[in-house]
């Protein structure tokens, strides 16, 4: 077990650390049997229409506990890659392993089980407008079959972490864009995922807010969660200073 305390010091301004423990997926990482590579992609191609490749022969790795940016111009294939990782699309060719799981081998029920081990954040927040902030977050736990008390405790914990515990009973549309995205991040983390995938999470936010959101991703990564963020915001990437995987016209051009 790694200690949460060290990695959570950065978050003191929110004072969110609960005695219950670190709100990240670190706890799930103790198993020694897990592979060291969380994302393992080999020769991945995706073609929507004939002759038009959204992705072409992509090979890449993202290690456990790593924070990587996926970047590239519009139409490069970033969203397509994330949708394949979320199993919303299936590859035309190639092999995709996530946490040792071959995505091609998953049946419908396996897909559900697989997705429960992920977290996702999108540009448009994807919150359910008629549910409160609290309900939006706890929803992801409910399907895991966790006992009720634990669900509530965990939900408060992550909401506190993103600094929104006082807005738990508000509805998403009563929140600012930055606050909504924080709710989405809380939901992505509530199930202690192995991997969090984010597609332009700061696309709708102004630069200051964008940095604040990035800090949340950094913090969750510091807690042990593997993070892959797609963005074309070069400045933001530079500011955060993490590994960058660049795509262009469906091919990897840089994987430093």
């Amino acid at each position: 077990m790694r200690s949460c305390a060290a990695s959570w010091n950065a978050r003191e301004r929110r004072g969110a650390i609960l005695a219950a423990g670190c709100p990240t997926g670190a706890g799930t990482l103790s198993s020694a049997a897990r592979p060291n590579t969380v994302i393992e992609i080999d020769g991945l191609s995706k073609r929507y229409a004939r002759e038009v490749f959204a992705l072409h022969d992509v090979t890449m790795r993202v290690g456990r506990g790593e924070f990587a940016f996926l970047t590239g111009p519009s139409g490069a294939g970033k969203t397509t890659l994330l949708r394949i990782l979320l199993r919303q699309e299936v590859p035309t060719a190639g092999r995709v392993l996530v946490d040792g799981r071959d995505l091609a081998a998953l049946g419908p029920a396996d897909v559900q089980r697989y997705r429960r081990t992920l977290g996702f954040v999108f540009q448009d927040f994807k919150l359910i407008p008629r549910k409160t902030v609290f309900e939006n977050v706890i929803f992801a736990l409910r399907i895991l079959g966790v006992p009720d008390v634990q669900q509530r405790r965990r939900t408060f914990q992550v909401l506190k972490w993103v600094g929104l515990q006082h807005r738990a009973n508000a509805f998403p549309l009563e929140l600012s864009g930055g606050e909504q995205q924080r709710v989405a991040i809380a939901r992505a983390l509530v199930n202690e995922p192995v991997l969090v995938l984010a597609d332009e999470p700061t696309g709708n936010l102004d630069p200051d807010l964008a940095l604040e959101i990035m800090n949340l991703f950094r913090e969750m990564n510091a807690g042990g969660t593997t993070v892959l963020v797609a963005t074309h915001d070069r400045e933001l990437i530079h500011h955060v200073g993490r590994r960058t995987i660049a795509l262009d016209h469906g091919s990897v051009t840089e994987s430093a």
Partner: protein
């Protein structure tokens, strides 16, 4: 399990309430179908009861040929007596028949006085037990009329036959009409559920992304159809009840002449339950069809 059901029902109810202008549409189409079905069941039920009552009070007259032998008469009497649905058998001789005729129709008596021969046949008058069906009487009558020495069997049959066919006609017309309406109602429910499916497509995507089981995603929609169906049936029954109460004075007078049933009665508890369950089943089907889109 219980928590899951509660979730489905509360989600579904919230959705019905949010989409109430569309939901009213499907509730009403279900209500119309259930109303028509209920009305026909009501009428057919009364016709049926009248038929039963008539056949219960009916008497069977077995007219004998003048030339029939004592042996043949004894055989007929034995068959009648051996039939469980027969309560009593009385022999009316030619002389007794004439005497009764003269008593019943005194103004025609002189005509029979002058007649050389007594034109009235001897007969067995059969009183039927109160529990036999029209079909059983029918069988008995057919059997006896084929026996030697029997000239004719009279029974208020024609009227009963007509009533029975009227009852069947009412029932089948009702079922056919209701069937068409139920189909329309099911289609409406399907489309209304589809509307709320569309309204909540983002929500469905989110549920899929967090890995919610299919039943968890579909459940509320199926339940939504079921609620609409059940509500429709309840509305129809309430309308039927009100309509019956309002028109009761006029209907009773009509019914007294038409049906041998004291008063108009509402549907039986079984029919009421059947209509509600049926409404829910149709709604459920609509919800299932609509939510098959989620996969």
């Amino acid at each position: 399990m219980i928590a899951g059901l509660t979730y489905f029902v509360t989600e579904a109810w919230a959705s019905v309430w949010r989409g109430r202008s569309a939901a009213i549409l499907s509730v009403l189409t279900i209500a119309i179908a259930a109303f028509v079905l209920g009305l026909f069941l009501l009428v057919a039920g009364h016709v049926q009861r009248t038929v039963d009552q008539w056949s219960r009070s009916a008497e069977l007259s077995v007219y004998l040929r003048d030339e029939s032998t004592d042996g043949e008469r004894a055989a007929v009497r034995n068959v009648l007596r051996a039939t469980p649905s027969v309560a009593a058998v009385e022999f009316v001789s030619k002389t007794a028949a004439l005497a009764r005729f003269r008593k019943n129709f005194p103004e025609l008596a002189p005509a029979t006085d002058s007649a050389a021969d007594n034109p009235l046949p001897a007969s067995f008058e059969v009183r039927l037990g109160s529990d036999q069906s029209a079909a059983a009487v029918e069988r008995l009558s057919a059997r006896v009329s084929r026996m030697a020495g029997v000239a004719d069997v009279r029974y208020d049959r024609r009227w009963l036959d007509r009533l029975v066919s009227l009852g069947n006609f009412v029932r089948w017309t009702g079922l056919l009409l209701a069937g068409v309406l139920v189909l329309a109602a099911a289609l409406t429910v399907t489309n209304v559920v589809r509307l709320s499916l569309y309204a909540r497509r983002d929500e469905i995507e989110i549920m899929e992304l967090v890995g919610a089981p299919l039943s968890f995603i579909r459940g509320p929609f199926v339940c939504e159809g079921m609620i609409q169906g059940g509500l429709g049936a309840v509305v129809a029954l309430a309308l039927l009840r009100v309509a019956l109460t309002l028109s009761a004075p006029r209907l009773s007078a009509l019914a007294a002449g038409l049906f041998e049933v004291g008063r108009i009665e509402f549907l039986s508890g079984l029919s009421v339950a059947g209509l509600i369950v049926g409404g829910m089943a149709v709604g459920c089907l609509g919800g299932l069809v609509a939510s098959r889109r989620i996969h």
